[in-house]
Symmetry: C2
Subunit: 289 residues, 2 copies
């Protein structure tokens, strides 16, 4: 997860999406030519963990999962991740990585792929995923028991700024004001964090990027009465349910069960039309502050 003891925000400030006061690039990057695309690119299975997509020096888990899934989708010749699970083996440090991906089965609807992402020091991430074409699945019976989290407009939400993880400079994340009190020693007492997600460079969020979104917010558990600290992810599973419509996404992450040193965090990601586009769950280790 995206948090570390030395990395929690010391200052928080309000910001406005696409306003230049954020110090971020306001030009709109396109899919294929964005920071995220450059940071997840693999050529012949070789890529690079790019500095700046980290939390306290360790690459964000969603970023690593997206990089692996990009290579796996290419290997399978399918456009979209449908359900992807990563098990985190060692921290990812900036530098070269290789992806060893193998198509286990190529079916009509889905192809299933397993992969290992290796860094200089050994395996970082083991991944299992099924890939397909979300456009080909569209329509049919629908049942939605849930709704996007209630959020004030991005301009009224809180941008994690100085003291926040480096990752945040790549993103345009605006957290619900009541959910960031942990940063100043006032956790809300409710293990929930909700907010808006976009890329700092304006790149649209596609299905691949939803893997990053699913791990991009501060851990919901920070809002309980325990010291924030490093929350290593053991396993993260993301179900991509639809291609997001253009516009910022509304996300909510909740931790319902902390016990015996482990916690789960469940995420929902909703697009600008109010459709659920991803669901995530991760198993993490309790902060050891």
């Amino acid at each position: 997860m995206n948090g570390g003891a030395g990395q929690r925000p010391q200052r928080i400030r309000r910001g406005v999406v696409h306003e230049s006061t954020t110090g971020k690039d306001t030009a709109v990057a396109t899919i294929g030519e964005s920071e995220f695309d450059r940071a997840t690119r693999l050529i012949d299975g070789v890529g690079q963990i790019v500095d700046g997509w980290d939390v306290g020096g360790n690459a964000n888990g969603g970023y690593l999962l997206a990089m692996a899934a990009r290579g796996m989708a290419a290997e399978a010749g399918r456009p979209h991740p449908i359900t992807v699970t990563g098990h985190y083996l060692a921290p990812g440090r900036p530098g070269p990585v290789t992806l060893d991906a193998e198509v286990v089965r190529a079916g009509r609807r889905f192809a299933t792929v397993r992969a290992t992402l290796q860094g200089a020091g050994g395996a970082i991430l083991e991944v299992l995923g099924s890939f397909g074409d979300l456009d080909g699945l569209r329509g049919g019976f629908s049942h939605v028991h849930g709704s996007p989290p209630p959020l004030d407009p991005p301009a009224s939400c809180v941008e994690l700024a100085a003291g926040a993880p480096a990752l945040m400079s790549k993103l345009d994340v605006r957290v619900r004001p009541g959910d960031v009190g942990f940063g100043v020693g006032r956790p809300s007492g409710v293990a929930e964090v909700a907010g808006w997600f976009g890329f700092a460079d304006g790149r649209p969020v596609d299905p691949l990027a939803l893997l990053l979104v699913s791990d991009a917010m501060p851990p919901a558990v920070f809002n309980l009465d325990l010291r924030p600290g490093w929350v290593p992810t053991v396993e993260l599973t993301v179900h991509v349910r639809a291609v997001p419509a253009p516009g910022p996404l509304r996300c909510v992450f909740r931790t319902r069960f902390v016990q015996h040193g482990c916690l789960e965090e469940d995420g929902e990601v909703w697009d600008s039309t109010g459709e659920l586009v991803a669901q995530s769950r991760q198993l993490g280790l309790l902060p050891r502050g």
Copy 2:
């Protein structure tokens, strides 16, 4: 998931746990010497999909996941599954299978293992899991936002009998009366199924068996207004959170999002002391009745 168009219960009856009128063995089997243990045994990576653990001829997904995880835990030399994900590649038919398991990383706390379960016709299941010792994780900060589903005693719940999947003869599953109306054309309208879980032969439920529990109930989606039918599981992830205390388990499965041909089902399994012992989520395909 555990359901098929031709396999939905035509008759339902009330039953009493351990009463001989169920026609089930009332002797208490032990871990290692039970039907479940015999049906999941692997010797030098070779096992058998045993007839009777199926739904309409296809082996139950939780049963297959448990068989694979048993071999993976042995390969890793760790007692318990902690988080296990299976991707279902082809139906499992009775007959010999082989498990090819590889330890990806053996850490202090967890060992991560990938595996392929192969049948006569090719790969059936691809699995990725982390294994460890739940007893060694006990204690520490605890936060539980949730509680076991409200259930009448097992004797007042409904046993799926004639017409139910063959699997049910191996289990002592008692479903909340309001949740089985789908079997007689009266779905509740709420995509939820709750009930009690035990083994028919009285074997205690250990962490390995929780993988079976997580896929043992009729699909929650059957309680929506669509024709019950075969609900193939694409992916199933189970987090095992604690070793269950003795006694029957209370389970609840809910489907919140059905869209574009896919559905998720979330499960919670609680032991007799009221502790959450497993959480599951699966991605399945909509019934095509």
